[in-house]
């Protein structure tokens, strides 16, 4: 059993993707033995109207909710996010995705604290995207800096029990913040974990209980995440935790 914690659906504005609809992603998943994928709307990265983006996602996954589990994109720096979150809860979403750099706020922003408090009240998890695409390859007139994580310790201190996934970070990041993870619900996905057997280095730094299988498909080749697990040489409980155990626990 494999749960992919990091997938998106919808047209990427800067390149034609071959598997950006439900049928395409499910085809990839079937080929690689992926049981379930957590999905968010690409439009949520770029729209102002998050409710519209989330609604499009639900339309896309209609009939496939058993395998494509929807996460709502919410922007705490935009008016009305409280209503967006409420609508998402009523519509069957299971968690919240955040893009602080695309939505122009940082981790110290008090509006983020308000949102995380509301998410905690729902007993939902939250995913913070560190990067969507390598900055060196951004569009010439849409240069989006990576998210700064200097404020992460304060966020974790304030919300120690909140299930929180940071997507798109490295094993070096895991080493830098290794002291934050013990006793928390903080996780890293492996979508941008590089280096030779880099996932093993990430596990060594923060423990397998804090690492999630995540591919960033269909922007990335889904197979990359599968091969990273193979490259790391992980076995037994550590492998099972990363492939599905942590994800299952995270969603309760």
């Amino acid at each position: 059993m494999i749960i992919d914690s990091n997938c998106t659906l919808g047209p990427w504005p800067f390149r034609r993707l071959r598997h950006s609809d439900a049928a395409g992603l499910l085809g990839l998943m079937d080929g690689l033995g992926i049981t379930q994928a957590w999905v968010g709307a690409v439009e949520g990265i770029f729209y102002r109207d998050m409710a519209a983006a989330n609604e499009q996602l639900l339309e896309r996954i209609s009939g496939h909710e058993d395998r494509l589990v929807p996460w709502a994109v919410v922007n705490p720096a935009f008016p009305g996010w409280e209503e967006d979150l409420q609508e998402a809860e009523q519509a069957g979403f299971v968690g919240v995705r955040l893009y602080p750099n695309y939505h122009a706020y940082d981790l110290a922003d008090p509006r983020l604290g308000d949102l995380l408090g509301a998410v905690k009240a729902l007993h939902w998890p939250v995913a913070i995207y560190a990067r969507v695409q390598d900055e060196r390859l951004h569009h010439w007139h849409m240069l989006v800096p990576p998210v700064g994580f200097a404020g992460l310790p304060q966020v974790v201190e304030r919300f120690p029990d909140l299930p929180m996934v940071i997507c798109g970070q490295t094993w070096q990041f895991a080493q830098q913040f290794r002291g934050l993870f013990a006793g928390t619900n903080l996780y890293l996905d492996i979508s941008r974990c590089e280096g030779v057997a880099g996932v093993a280095d990430m596990v060594q730094a923060i423990g397998a209980d804090h690492v999630l299988f995540g591919s960033h498909a269909p922007l990335f080749y889904l197979e990359a995440a599968v091969l990273k697990i193979q490259e790391a040489g992980l076995e037994g409980t550590a492998r099972e935790a990363i492939l599905h155990g942590n994800a299952t626990r995270l969603l309760g």
Binding site: R18, R136, A197, A217, P218, F220, G233
Partner: protein
């Protein structure tokens, strides 16, 4: 046979060369990578002086000696030191069994200092692996784009060039070299963005794409998946994963 055209053996802090080599070979084993071409040295030096250039090549030679059936050396040359580069080619390629040349970022690829290096590469039938990137955030002043490599390649039509990173901005890089048949893009050094290999096969053909990972900075897995996860035929994958490179290198 799966051959990686582009790795650098750079140990973690506190790790010995032998330990880094074992860790690298173990990862290759888990993924079915038979051989890897090693270049540069134990660290990245943007402007290596003569002593550093010698030391970095000696590091690669001692890496190859740890597993000569798995590692293939590429001679690290510098257009800032063309005479020394020719000496290093004699020492490591002619007498030492290295099977390619590496150019990195000390000068742009079309620098005149590369001409003597390329003339010797042509005589010996050595492929030249040359760094290229186009960064929207800005290149280093002496960091080549695919355009610089095309200029060099047109001066040396009898040399086969491997365009490292497919230009970084691969949609641009692949188009830039599309009609320069002796430039072979490699697959490595950026995120495993979907569509890369399909576009490369469409633009330059499977016969001109070469698998590389840029390990140990990059993951073998993320770069290998660009090929194994691509919607292309098994025959095309075989060409990219090893057959093309084997054809480019001298025996």
């Amino acid at each position: 046979m799966v051959i990686d055209c582009h790795i650098h053996l750079m140990p973690h802090p506190g790790e010995t060369q032998a330990q880094a080599a074992r860790r690298t070979l173990a990862a290759m084993d888990r993924l079915g990578i038979d051989k890897a071409c090693v270049s540069l040295g134990d660290r990245l030096i943007v402007q290596p002086n003569a002593t550093e250039l010698r030391e970095q090549n000696a590091w690669v030679a001692s890496t190859v000696a740890l597993a000569p059936d798995r590692f293939i050396g590429f001679v690290y040359c510098s257009p800032n030191h063309p005479e020394l580069s020719l000496e290093l080619i004699e020492e490591y390629a002619v007498r030492g069994g290295f099977r390619g040349i590496k150019l990195w970022v000390c000068q742009l690829a079309d620098h005149a200092g590369n001409d003597a290096i390329c003339r010797r590469a042509a005589q010996l039938g050595l492929p030249v692996l040359a760094h290229t990137w186009v960064k929207v955030t800005g290149n280093m002043p002496t960091e080549s784009t695919p355009d610089h490599l095309v200029t060099l390649a047109r001066r040396h039509p009898d040399v086969n060039f491997i365009m490292a990173h497919a230009g970084g901005d691969w949609e641009r890089g692949l188009r830039t070299v599309r009609h320069v048949p002796h430039i072979y893009p490699d697959t490595c050094g950026n995120d495993p963005e979907a569509g890369f290999t399909e576009l490369a096969v469409a633009l330059v053909g499977a016969e001109r794409l070469v698998f590389g990972s840029d390990a140990t900075g990059r993951s073998f897995a993320s770069q290998l998946a660009k090929v194994t996860g691509a919607d292309i035929t098994d025959d095309q994958k075989r060409l990219i994963l090893g057959d093309n490179l084997e054809r480019l290198m001298p025996a």
